[in-house]
C-alpha cells in the first residue's frame, strides 16, 4: 500500500515504471505515446483500481467530461423522456449528466447555461426552445460559440437559430400529418391551441398543420401557455367557435383540452375531435385515448449525446428525427 485512499496517477506511473506525464497521456490524451506503453499503463491502472480525479482533471485541463443538460422542467414528460435518453447514452459512455431547469422563465435558460459553463462542463445539451427573446438568443449564441471555441461541445434539441449541432424533431411534417388526418376525416373548421409563437416548435407545427389541411379549411389559432392549463384555457375559448376539431400543439395541451371538453359534457370525438403532438407515455391512457403524432423523445436525447461525443466540425450538424401519426380514439369524423 503506497498511501491511503485511492491510488493516484503517480502511483500508476510508478507501478508501470513510466513518468507521470506518460501515464497521463496513456490515460487521457493518447498522442505522443507509443501504443505499447499506453496499453501497459492502462493495464496497470486497471489492476490498481485507479480512478481519475475529475476535479484535478478539470483544474488542469480546463474541461471535464460531464454533460450539462438544460430542460425547462424535468417534471414534464416531454423533457423527462429526453433526459432519460440522454442519461442512458451518457452513462454508457461514462459521462455523467448534470441537469438544470430553466423553469420556463424568460432568461432562465441563459442563467442556467451560464451556471453550467461555470462548472466547466465539457458539453451542453439544450432541450426545448426557450422564450426566444432576440437579445437572449443573441447572448446565448455568443456564450455557446465562445464555449465551442474553448473546446466545449454543444447541441440543441429542437430549435434552430443557433449555429450549433442540433437534433430537430420533425415538427413541420408532424403537423402536416395531423392536418391531413383531420382534413381527410372531413373537418373544415379546426381549432388550434398553440403555445407562444416565439417558440420555433410552435411556429413549425402550425405551419405544418396549415400545409396539411390544405386550402379551403379554416384554422382558428389561439396562443396560450404551452401546458395542460394552457390547453384548458384555449379549449374554453374555442368551445363556442363552432369548430369540429381542436388540436393541441403538444400532448399536455391536448390533455387539457380533453379535460375542458369533458367538464362541459362535450363528447370526444362525436362532438369534437382532439389531437395532440409528441405521444408522451400517457397519451394512450387518457380518456379517450389521444390521437397524436409520435416524436421520439428518448431517441432525441440519445442523438444529442451522440452529436456531442463526435468531435466538432466546421459545419453545424443536424439530425432530423422521424415522426409517426398515431390514430387513437380521440379523433373521428365531424358531426354530420
Amino acid at each position: 500500500m503506497k498511501r491511503s485512499g485511492t491510488p493516484r496517477l503517480v502511483d500508476v506511473a510508478k507501478a508501470a515504471g513510466v513518468s507521470l506525464a506518460s501515464a497521463s497521456r496513456a490515460m487521457s490524451g493518447g498522442t505522443g505515446i507509443s501504443s505499447e506503453v499506453a496499453a501497459h499503463v492502462r493495464a496497470v491502472a486497471q489492476q490498481l483500481g485507479y480512478e481519475p480525479n475529475l476535479h484535478a482533471r478539470g483544474l488542469a485541463g480546463g474541461l471535464v467530461p460531464t454533460i450539462g443538460l438544460l430542460v425547462n422542467e424535468i417534471g414534464d414528460p416531454y423533457f423527462s423522456e429526453i433526459a432519460s435518453g440522454v442519461i442512458r447514452s451518457a452513462t454508457r459512455e461514462n459521462r455523467s449528466v448534470q441537469i438544470a431547469q430553466a423553469e420556463r422563465t424568460p432568461g432562465g435558460e441563459l442563467a442556467q447555461v451560464q451556471s453550467l459553463l461555470r462548472q466547466r462542463v465539457g458539453a451542453i445539451i439544450i432541450a426545448g426552445s426557450g422564450y426566444a427573446e432576440r437579445a437572449d438568443e443573441q447572448k446565448m449564441s455568443e456564450l455557446l460559440t465562445d464555449f465551442t471555441l474553448a473546446g466545449g461541445r454543444a447541441a440543441v434539441i429542437g430549435r434552430h437559430h443557433l449555429p450549433i449541432d442540433a437534433v430537430l424533431p420533425d415538427n413541420h411534417r408532424a403537423g402536416v400529418s395531423i392536418g391531413r388526418h383531420l382534413a381527410e376525416l372531413g373537418h373544415r373548421r379546426i381549432g388550434v391551441v398553440a403555445g407562444p409563437f416565439s417558440l420555433n416548435t410552435v411556429a413549425d407545427r402550425v405551419a405544418g398543420l396549415r400545409e396539411g389541411v390544405g386550402d379551403g379549411i379554416k384554422l382558428i389559432v389561439v396562443s396560450k401557455e404551452f401546458t395542460r392549463e394552457g390547453g384548458i384555457v384555449g379549449a374554453r375559448e374555442l368551445r363556442d367557435r363552432d369548430v369540429t376539431a381542436i388540436v393541441g400543439l403538444n400532448d399536455a395541451m391536448a390533455i387539457g383540452i380533453l379535460r375542458e371538453l369533458r367538464q362541459h359534457d362535450i363528447r370526444v370525438p362525436e362532438d369534437i375531435s382532439v389531437a395532440g403532438f409528441d405521444d408522451v407515455a400517457v397519451a394512450a391512457d387518457v380518456a379517450p385515448a389521444l390521437t397524436t403524432v409520435r416524436i421520439p423523445m428518448f431517441e432525441m436525447g440519445q442523438h444529442a449525446v451522440a452529436l456531442i461525443l463526435r468531435p466538432s466540425s466546421d459545419e453545424a450538424r443536424i439530425v432530423e428525427t422521424g415522426h409517426e401519426l398515431i390514430v387513437r380514439r380521440s379523433s373521428g369524423p365531424p358531426r354530420a
Copy 2:
C-alpha cells in the same frame, strides 16, 4: 484588467487588500475571520464578478457542492416529480444536481452511487428503494457511512434500512386510507397488484392496505414488475379471480390495470373498482379518472435537499410526509 478571462480568488484578494487565505475564508469557510473583513471581501468579489472555480475547490477541499441524485428511471413521473423538487430547491441554494439512473437493475444503484462518489459530489440523494439484495444493502450502507464520515451528506427518499437521513412517504397510512375507502364502499374481495416484495414501499403499502380493510375482507395479492406493464399482467391474472376491486401499488400499475380491464370491456368502476398510489399528474386524466392517494413527490424532493443542507447530526433524521386520499371516478360500490 488583471489577466484574461474570469477573475480568480487572488485577484479578489489583491483588490480587497487581503491575503489569499483570508479571501478564501471570506468566500467559503467563514471561521477565523472578522465579519467586517469578510463582508468587504465579498463585496469586492461581487463587484469583480468573481465566480469560484469548482474544480479547484474540489481538488483542494475534497468535496464540491454538487448534489448527486439517484433515481431508477427519470422517465417515470414518480421520479421526475421528485427530481423536479430536488432541482428546484438545489438551484435556489446554488447547488447543481447530477442525475444518475439505476435503471431498475440489481446492482445498478450500487454502481451509480459509486460513480457519484467518484465525482466527489458533496451530497447524495437516493430516491426509490432499489432491489434490496441483502449484500447490496450492506455494501451501500458501508459506502454511505464512509461517505458521511468523510464529510459528505446523504439522504434517501423512501426506504429505511440505511442509517441516514430519510424522507419517508406515508406509505403505510396511505395504504390504510385506500383500504378503508374500498372497505367502506363495500368491497369484500380485493385484488392487489404489488411490486416486488423486496421493496419496502411495497411491503408498507400492502401492510397498510391490510390494516385499512380490516378483518373479514379477502386480499388477493400478486407481485409483478412495479410498472404499467406489471399492472397489465397483474390485472390479467386477477380478472377471473372474482374480485370487485383491484389496487395497483402505484399509479403506473393502476393505469396498466385500467388498460387491461378496458381491453376486455370490463367497466370501471361498475364491474371492478380500481385504485392506485402516488397521484402522479396524469392520474386525473386517465379513463376513468383514477382514485388514488396523493404522495407529495415534489415536496419530498425538496425535503431531501433541506435535509442535506443541514449539517449532519449523530441521529439520522426522518421527515415523514403526509398523504391525501383522492377519490375520483375509478372507484365505487361493488356490483350488487
